[in-house]
């Protein structure tokens, strides 16, 4: 459990290759839901919860069912089945057990099955990890941390974007640029800022 690798993974998934801004995963809900801050935060929380849990389950399935019988080609099918069922399962349980929590982020759960960030995180966990300059095979803890980092990076980008978009109502945006086009241009500027992070080498 050496901490430095885990911190490296977290920093690299949140900043260096942020899931939305440099890997382009999870853009559909990013553009749609980031109109105001509260839904974005709860969406971010929901995504973080699901990516972390999904990374655990998909890692287990990949290493204990797919690899031994070399069925890598079933990776897409099994992962998306797991994520969809888990999201459905989580939605039912949270709706009953914690209605307050459900009000905050439960309603976003069906939105997450469609979200590319979750599936992207699960798929990336199966690739080779890439730390301190050399390729390192993934492990359970690494995929879990990467899943969490992915969710956190998603939430960070959502938060920044929703903060900007809320101020935007007071700004005088030309009619044709209203709403979606201006969001893309802001996202482009944010992605440029995040490019700055890609310089570091940990």
């Amino acid at each position: 459990m050496d901490l430095s690798t885990y911190i490296t993974i977290i920093i690299s998934t949140i900043f260096i290759n942020n899931f939305i801004l440099s890997r382009f995963l999870g853009l559909c809900s990013f553009i749609g839901v980031s109109k105001n801050t509260l839904p974005s935060v709860s969406m971010g929380l929901a995504v973080t919860f699901v990516t972390t849990m999904a990374s655990i389950i998909t890692w287990l399935i990949y290493n204990y069912i797919l690899l031994p019988y070399n069925l890598e080609y079933l990776r897409t099918l099994s992962f998306i089945l797991v994520i969809a069922s888990f999201v459905q399962f989580a939605e039912i349980v949270i709706q009953k057990k914690a209605p307050a929590l459900y009000k905050v982020f439960g309603i976003y759960l069906p939105l997450i099955t469609v979200n590319c960030a979750v599936f992207g995180a699960a798929v990336l966990n199966t690739d080779v990890f890439f730390l301190h300059g050399h390729a390192v095979p993934g492990s359970f803890m690494k995929s879990l941390i990467q899943g969490f980092g992915a969710g956190a990076g998603f939430t960070l980008a959502m938060l920044i974007m929703s903060g900007i978009r809320e101020r935007l109502e007071y700004a005088d945006v030309p009619r044709s640029m209203k709403d979606i086009p201006i969001t893309f241009i802001i996202a482009s500027l944010m992605s440029m800022a995040f490019l700055g992070f890609s310089g570091f080498k940990i």
Binding site: C28, S29, I31, G32, V33, K35, N36, P39, S42, M43, I61, I65, Y69, L71, L74, L77, S78, L81, V82, S85, Q88, F89, I92, V93, Q95, K96, K97, I107, Y108, P110, L111, T113, V114, E169, Y170, D172
Partner: protein
Amino acid sequence: MIMRILTPVLAMAALGLIFGVGLAYTLKIFGIKLDPKMFKLISMLPGSNCGACGKAGCAGFAEALARGEATPSGCVVSSEEARRSIDLFLGIDYEVRTKTIAAFLCNGGIRAKNKYFYRGIKSCKAATLLFGGYKACSFGCLGLGDCVRECPFHAITIGVDGLPVVDPKKCNSCGKCMKACPKSLYVLLPEKCYYVKCRSKDTGAQTARACSSGCIACMKCEKACPSGAVKVESNLSKIDMGKCKYIGRCVEVCPTKVIAKRG
């Protein structure tokens, strides 16, 4: 060769079975009944949960529709007939919109202090460029009459207290004033309505310091309103016309007389 086909098929079928039974089992234990109206609404929506309407998926949008906060046209993905059927289902015909009139949301004017003495171009847009305008309250009206000039029906005149006054008979809610005002202080509200004549999201103390008649988020209106239509969010009280029963307790109770009654 056969084994290479059989093992994956059995493995995945087993996985599918486990998840199917698992879901059904959890539904049995944790399932709650969704009220039929919401269920019907959700089935009429495309169900793609894409979030393009800004709400949290279709369930969120259906809730907003039921509460009257959203209009079916908010759902970009659904086809025309789906939107019309939702309108009919909700019983409110959105095509013929209820008559709305522009309402002005600021109570400052001469009652709001100035940050600096402004001698620039007599236009709100120009004044806002200079540190958000010369009023101490950054949300407040500058009274330089952009909306007056913009209104094609001359329904807006500047009152004695330096604030624009909307003449309900002349206004036919074209929304031009909304675009003209750099502080977006205009909103289209039904003829008969209650609304808060302030948009300041600053804390109560800051608003009180900047203007003697702003909303200081004292929550009195929220507590006084019997029908729970008033809610104070980020230091600014908001009246939900869906719930409002036109009782008017909030107007009496408001210490700075910010809530206005119209019609």
